[in-house]
Symmetry: C2
Subunit: 359 residues, 2 copies
């Protein structure tokens, strides 16, 4: 199966919607696991990694959850394909740098994905639209149990699941949610909020994980600690933080609309005007303007523009996705022209925003 | 007659068009004249100025060219009305600061205007759309001759017409053209061009004359010297400079479209997108974006958008004109909101720009 065929299906807005998706773009839970009898991938020799992959991959492919899944060794993917998977949050940037001896398996709707021989032997994730942390936990727990029946996990009674990096020891779980927080950014409360959330033991990152900037007013919130609490407790605790952030964001939006309505409408209007008429648009600008359009959709300023379309454009305007739509390698400037063309065409039938009904 | 009634008539695009109006927005000739037996206005006492006005105004009003004209002493106009006349280039900013003892008379289509007791007793101007310097000269010359039959001009065989400021001595003529030069600005040639034109003895200023910035890529070019050449020679010489500037501007546009077409389309598209969707627009931004729209009209990127509409918006988005459309005094922020509303409404039926046919 070719990757292009697997990914070409357009997003179905209905399938990508979930609870609280005005603000929570997605929920994700990732578990790290390692096997006994194999060195951790980071210090294993290439031969050992290839052997481990040959041992793990069939076990993963045989799971009922991954029936009909895409499965590949990373040396079979070219750099553009790898970058595409990074942009879809299916593999990490670090994993994209790997070749023979590492692999990836994910199902048709991309909700379940397993990286083999990234930093750990196994990194399995479940990704769901909107706020569905408990549901994601149930799915990844089932996946983990099914795999545990087929593979011999490295587990210590004292430390729990053993991981390559000690920060993952114990439950080896990362629970995260991707949040769209334009209200907190525009009202300049975001730094303060991030500080509070960080103090509570959670990490806040940009759209593409550790070390990335928060473009498009999108922030990823996740647990830092993996020891001392059970998985359901960690999931519940992050869920509470997310609920608080939703509340803060809703309040920030309400206050902005009371005190600075013109500025909010102005930014949304300009974002729409620019995206639907520009001829050169860089990736970062596209994300920031699409974010404002998403806010406009939340405020019911658009007729016939679905949140799903915007979330799709967030992804399709990324460099590798853009390149995939074009035969022949594009330079950065050509990509900016193509990105603008795609945005103009996609927004052609979207009418100008109007004021919200209660404005 | 109330000023508001006089000015309320909307521009008729047809009446405001003229030769070369792609680049030459208007042509203007102004003559300064003083009377014998009256002190120059700048050092006359108030009583003397009132007397001079009473002497001059009936003579001006009685001219056939000014039949049915608007005529007022400046103390009868409030500050908003005066500012409106400044924005229409009918009176200078200096004249707007005057009160009793100064006056203004102009005809219905605003092509002929006489300021009484500005810096000189008489400042008469003829304003024509497009490049019509010879026509403007013919009209202002006829106006001058007609007035000379009614008033006793101060004239010296050695110095020519006497003026309050020695830089106007002699012919006391200012010949000027308002040029739209986005090509030279976008290609960063404008500074060099202005330097050359200045070296040839001409002045280059912004839209609102001496000491004003060039917003909206609009530049006023005029003669500096008033001595040593006849009026027709001065008019012809400025005409040649304008012809050269037209050529440079056309070349700059052609080169831009060859080498940086995407950037040009991008800027025009963004200007349209912003003007038709923003909710807060400052005067300076409006002028700069309208200028890009005007370039887009020249490049035939718009269906159903007339150059006259843009030139009208250039004027109607100025602070006093905007204030005139609203009862109750507006602050600067409220004006920016009203300006944006007016622009959105005016551009509502204008469709998105498309690429030029030969692109």
């Amino acid at each position: 199966m070719k990757l292009a065929d697997f990914l070409s299906s357009p997003f179905d807005a209905g399938e990508r919607s979930g609870p609280e998706d005005r603000i929570v773009m997605s929920s994700r839970i990732r578990l790290a696991r390692n096997l006994t009898g194999h060195s951790f991938p980071t210090w294993a020799k290439k031969n050992d990694r290839v052997k481990a992959l040959e041992h793990i991959r069939p076990a993963v492919e045989s799971l009922p959850q991954l029936d009909g899944a895409f499965s590949s060794s990373l040396d079979e993917l070219n750099s553009m394909e790898k970058q595409t998977l990074v942009e879809r949050h299916l593999i990490s940037r670090e994993h994209a740098a790997k070749g023979a001896g590492s692999g990836v398996v994910f199902n048709q709707d991309e909700s379940i994905c397993v990286m083999i021989n990234e930093e750990d032997h196994l990194r399995m994730q479940v990704l769901k639209p909107g706020l569905q942390l408990a549901e994601a936990w149930a799915d990844v727990d089932a996946l983990d149990s099914a795999l545990e029946g087929k593979l011999d996990y490295a587990f210590s009674d004292e430390f729990g699941y053993l991981t390559a990096c000690p920060t993952n020891l114990g439950t080896a779980i990362r629970v995260s949610a991707m949040l769209h927080l334009p209200g907190l950014v525009l009202s300049e409360q975001i730094t303060q909020i991030i500080n509070s959330v960080t103090k509570l033991g959670h990490a806040v990152r940009g759209l593409y994980g550790e070390g990335t900037e928060a473009h498009g007013h999108v922030f990823q919130v996740s647990n830092q600690m993996t020891l001392g609490e059970s998985e359901p407790q960690l999931v519940e605790r992050l869920g509470k933080v997310v609920q608080q952030l939703i509340e803060h964001e809703e309040n920030a939006r309400a206050t902005l609309l009371e005190s600075k309505a013109s500025t909010v409408y102005d930014q949304i209007g300009r974002a729409y005007g620019t995206l639907s008429n520009a001829h050169v648009v860089a990736s970062k600008e596209a994300m920031n303007l699409l974010s404002l359009l998403r806010l406009g959709v939340d405020l019911e300023m658009f007729n016939g523009l679905d949140r799903g379309v915007i979330d799709e454009l967030f992804l399709f305007t990324q460099p590798a996705h853009l390149q995939n739509q074009h035969s022949g390698k594009l330079g950065a400037e050509e990509r900016d022209v193509l990105r603008a063309k795609m945005l103009r065409s996609r927004l052609k039938k979207v009418k100008r925003p109007h004021l919200p009904k209660n404005a």
